[in-house]
Symmetry: C2
Amino acid sequence: MSCQQTLTVNLSDNRSYPIYIGQDLLNDASYLRPHIKGQQVCIVTNTTIAPLYLDALISLLGDYHVDSVLLPDGESYKSLETMNSIYNCLLENTHNRTTTLIALGGGVVGDMCGYAAATYQRGVNFIQIPTTLLSQVDSSVGGKTGVNHPLGKNMIGAFHQPQAVIIDTNVLKTLPARELSAGLSEVVKYGLLGDKKFYHWIEENIESLIALDESVLTEAIARSCQNKADIVALDEREGGVRALLNLGHTFGHAIEAAQGYGVWLHGEAVSVGMVIALELSALMGKISHDEVDRLCRLLKKADLPTSSPNNMTAKQFLQLMSLDKKVLDGRLRLILLDAIGQAVVRDDASMSNIVQAIASHTAK
Amino acid sequence: MSCQQTLTVNLSDNRSYPIYIGQDLLNDASYLRPHIKGQQVCIVTNTTIAPLYLDALISLLGDYHVDSVLLPDGESYKSLETMNSIYNCLLENTHNRTTTLIALGGGVVGDMCGYAAATYQRGVNFIQIPTTLLSQVDSSVGGKTGVNHPLGKNMIGAFHQPQAVIIDTNVLKTLPARELSAGLSEVVKYGLLGDKKFYHWIEENIESLIALDESVLTEAIARSCQNKADIVALDEREGGVRALLNLGHTFGHAIEAAQGYGVWLHGEAVSVGMVIALELSALMGKISHDEVDRLCRLLKKADLPTSSPNNMTAKQFLQLMSLDKKVLDGRLRLILLDAIGQAVVRDDASMSNIVQAIASHTAK
């Protein structure tokens, strides 16, 4: 277990929790069991992940009362309708306030299981076991939970922190290449928004990351989680600095919404969103256009898209972005860069620059 | 405004909020407007209350962007399906994170509006304007929000505190007598569980309360709210003493569930639940049987039931109670009395005493 690392998300009111990162953690009960308080456990997973890891997880929980919910796989099922299958399982098996939910899966499973935990009997404990790179470096840490609504992504949700996050890097061996790339998009994000050294480290190690080199991967996950944990500790409920984690997300959400949830992967949409955000920062004179090109080269090496779909107009972007949570009383607040590794919230981008930034990175 | 009173619910992290109680508060914008932060307001009310008070409320909000959602009236609509009509209104009208929701109605409207506020974009502000006695003295204060699930009452929810509670005693003039009685049930509860002097005051003033005597009513509401606020301030998330507020509720919830939500009013079910809880306390030798009879006399003066429906068996009670949130890892925790004005949580009631207490107060 040479690569094993433990980080901590520091929060008030005894709500701090550990992030364990390493190989084979899913075969070791000692990471999991100290974080289960009662006698009941409900594992929330999906039909893709269950055949791979559900039995292993259940075998760690021999003497608990364990129920499992298998959700259909995909962003299109991240809905209140699907949520009801979790509530039904909990209620049919009379789970009480001391129950512990375990999210075994990617971002959709984690967000839904977390939201079920936030709202079942006004809040119960849960543990994140993320099985995609994207959920390992982003969505499993920080307590954002929720579901999509037909009229907007992540519009229904709650802040609810897990008791622990257990990241077994072994699971990435079964992850489709496209999803690995989508996860790398968020890894790149942490470098761009607040950690220039990490950004350059990613540029140097992108081939090893794509090749699933164990120690490089663990390092990338740990540095991403550390960046996220530091920001969450400063601003748990996104009153300020946490908004910077949304670099590329406002543009990205518009792409996801326009294409239908799940057609583009979240990380793919964020990849293009980051390119547009950097283009806009360049148009506003904050960074050089070379930096935009450099980002595009890195993203391409990670097999990520750098242009939005050719069926999307700037007008459609703006319409979809006006509903985004980052809009405050009519002002479009965007996460832009003052420099590589230095993101800021701005609401002074001109409409013409926004339109040009979008148009410059639309597929021909 | 001779009877106007202001109380405070003291909470950490700048979340303390005022409760305003008095006549004609709904005609005075100065109670409402300081608690609205952004430009957008969404009023959640129902089809019974809207014709009576919605226009008055909107007229206080002249320069805000105001939307309204009219829910169907009744406990049977306190569901995730109905909740979606609130989310739809917010999203269709692009309400953002600075929006303020206003609950104008009874407990169902307040619980649903509060839950919408807890979960829309991971939490927005809301204000309670309760229009029934029951919601004025109980559900509008303390931040419990949520909906029912076909398998259990209030099983889906969140703790989310309002910015203010505005109680206009005028609205009780349009309240059906049956609902006034249901509210008095919760007023009696505060006396029984923690305020013996208040309990005796209620006994002395029950006729004036039923007759809607303004100053007696304001006093009863204020003392109830003060009792609740004190307990919530000590234990916001029901880790301990707050559970005492559930006196009569575990038995009451079983009645509501068995009869179908809304057939019995919540306060009516709690009325019988309190009688059973006192009977059980008497069987355990904690209070005299005279106290049970005395409570029954008071409840009858308030036109409240003191026996459960004759189609309900003790077995059915126990089955429904095993799903109640007060059950912890198989142990049935009940709120009982050590004395009038002194409630405690106990898990040592014998099954035979529980069955006898239920059977003693079943309608013949």
